[in-house]
Symmetry: C2
Subunit: 341 residues, 2 copies
């Protein structure tokens, strides 16, 4: 890893009462999955399958995607690094502010990287013209914005020599249209990243996947090292996809809550970007988001995401993801107290 | 992954009664570890620490190795691929027959690879003279042989511009001296690979590490992607290292059993290499090891390792690891039956 990122709940452990810092919805009951895993001692004592092909098959059956168009990886992050490696030395454009790993993966593999502001992407199709690869996150982390599907496809089609890596890890939280599998499979220059992390709320497992043309998928598979996905992640993936109907994300409810938080924050003088999903990028009128974060944590056990290390953002920015209504009310009340100090 | 390997128990599932195909000792009671993992729902719901530094600290405390000299990886295989990447385009020499991944990792990163026969390593110190990297496995898989410590150190010191990657994943099974941590840390040109897999019999977890100079470790750490080791592997590592005294490997007993198998096999006309650990490379007088494997599996549920895909070996070779005495007797009896068919 080249540079930092923000999800640091592991630093705080039991002190965190509500975790607004992760974009993943909380409160999912994992007892069934955990019992299932605990009943399989071979998860410890046997090697996993060397390539997670059984999960690729299961995803294929579940989502109706041909198996040759799916590669399962050690979290979507693994797919990002595989793609950056495949495109070693490329000219990359990263739509910012965004998840740090695109930029870090590009740096690791000698890409020259330039940044495109999120709100400039549509201005001019030619913006991406000299890039070999364009990286964008949809919905975008940390802004919560979804790129207009029609406009995005138009840009992709107008730049057919450019590879578009569209990270849709947060798609399950989006209340507006994102790219479909069909959008991806009917084009040779798009890779869609996905993850079980968000829909099933299992970030600890590390199991992600990419969907793309069979040529691209084949090219990535030969670069994947064996046993990169461990037995627990493989077993859990099968369980989660089998019981997928039990893992419904109420994205409209979460978005509604996010809108409520935004309204309340704005009344306190905090700028909030309009979000298309469950999380919100916020800007303090003054002060320092890292101090707010420490204060909320120390005093109330509420963890928010200091967003100052996202490219182009500064120490006024933080990000929160909507939780249940009571927790959100508590957050608003606590931040109101801090503002009035 | 470029090419195949041999541990394929995942193909057979419950049909396997005794697994001689893995070099890992069987019958370890993992109920305590599994209960511990199952009692931690945050292993699913929280991100792991981005870099497994807590495990590096724990290993440092447990084995008295400075933390700057340890890098924890997604299985030792991850360390192999990181090293091959770090040395991209190098001249590599692989001591064969051996674990396939050294060669595959080198091929993935554009090394030119040549092979040194295991029994030729000592012949002439200059053998490795033009190699940037020498890869060897100690004890060696599949031969079970340990390189003479004094001679190996002499070769390492006589080739100070060559990096020696010494994979000691099976060191816990060796009845003779392997390289010590001190041997490694007092030299700038050795990387020792290790794993929790063998000592604790947890191949499903994927948690390995490398020990080397702090310069080498630093160089590998910056190339490690975040969240490469999942929450279950991190949590389990802490548990296993805490209760390390409960995970005693009786290597002398296993070696004794391996010697017993070798004696019996030799009486049947099967050649067996002298092993320094728990597993044995065997050569049929005629026939085909893959057919023997299928016959043993179909008829008795005994799984052996077809060793024909190791470099320089052919379809007469198979590998077995000693298990408990009764299982070993059964294996001998069944192979005797096959031979007499």
């Amino acid at each position: 890893m080249i540079d930092g990122h923000g999800d640091d709940i592991f630093r705080y452990g039991n002190r965190v009462k509500v975790n607004f810092s992760t974009n993943i919805h909380q409160g999912v009951d994992h007892s069934g999955l955990m019992s299932h895993l605990a009943s399989c001692p071979e998860l410890l004592s046997n090697y996993p399958e060397p390539e997670p092909v059984s999960v690729e098959k299961k995803l294929s059956e579940t989502y109706g995607i041909p198996v040759d168009n799916i590669i399962v990886t050690n979290g979507a992050t693994d797919a990002i690094y595989l793609i950056a490696r495949k495109m070693q030395g490329a000219m990359s454009a990263v739509v910012v502010p965004t998840f740090r790993e695109y930029q870090d993966a590009c740096a690791m593999y000698g890409h020259s990287v330039r940044f495109i502001q999120e709100n400039e992407v549509y201005d001019e199709v030619l913006t991406v013209g000299n890039a070999d690869v364009v990286w964008l996150c949809n919905p975008n982390n940390p802004t919560g914005r979804v790129f207009d599907r029609e406009k995005l496809l138009k840009i992709i089609d107008a730049n057919s020599d450019t590879l578009f890596v569209v990270d849709q890890a947060y798609a399950d939280y989006s209340v507006v249209d994102v790219l479909t599998v069909q959008d991806v499979l009917s084009r040779h220059n798009v890779i869609m990243l996905q993850s079980l992390t968000k829909q099933f709320a299992v970030p600890g497992l590390r199991i992600g996947y990419a969907v793309a043309s069979s040529e691209i998928v084949f090219g990535l598979r030969v670069m994947r090292m064996p046993w990169s996905v461990n037995s627990f992640a493989i077993k859990a993936a099968h369980y989660l996809l089998k019981y997928i109907d039990d893992y419904h994300v109420d994205k409209y409810q979460l978005h509604e809550e996010a809108m409520g938080i935004s309204q309340a924050f704005r009344r306190l003088g905090i700028e909030c970007l309009d979000t298309d999903c469950n999380f919100i990028l916020c800007k303090l009128p003054k002060g320092n988001a890292s101090r707010l974060k420490e204060w909320l944590m120390d005093r109330y056990g509420l963890l928010i995401r200091d967003a100052s290390n996202f490219e182009t953002l500064d120490n006024l920015y933080f990000r929160v993801a909507a939780q249940d209504h009571e927790s959100n009310k508590l957050l608003i009340k606590c931040i109101e107290e801090w503002i009035s100090l």
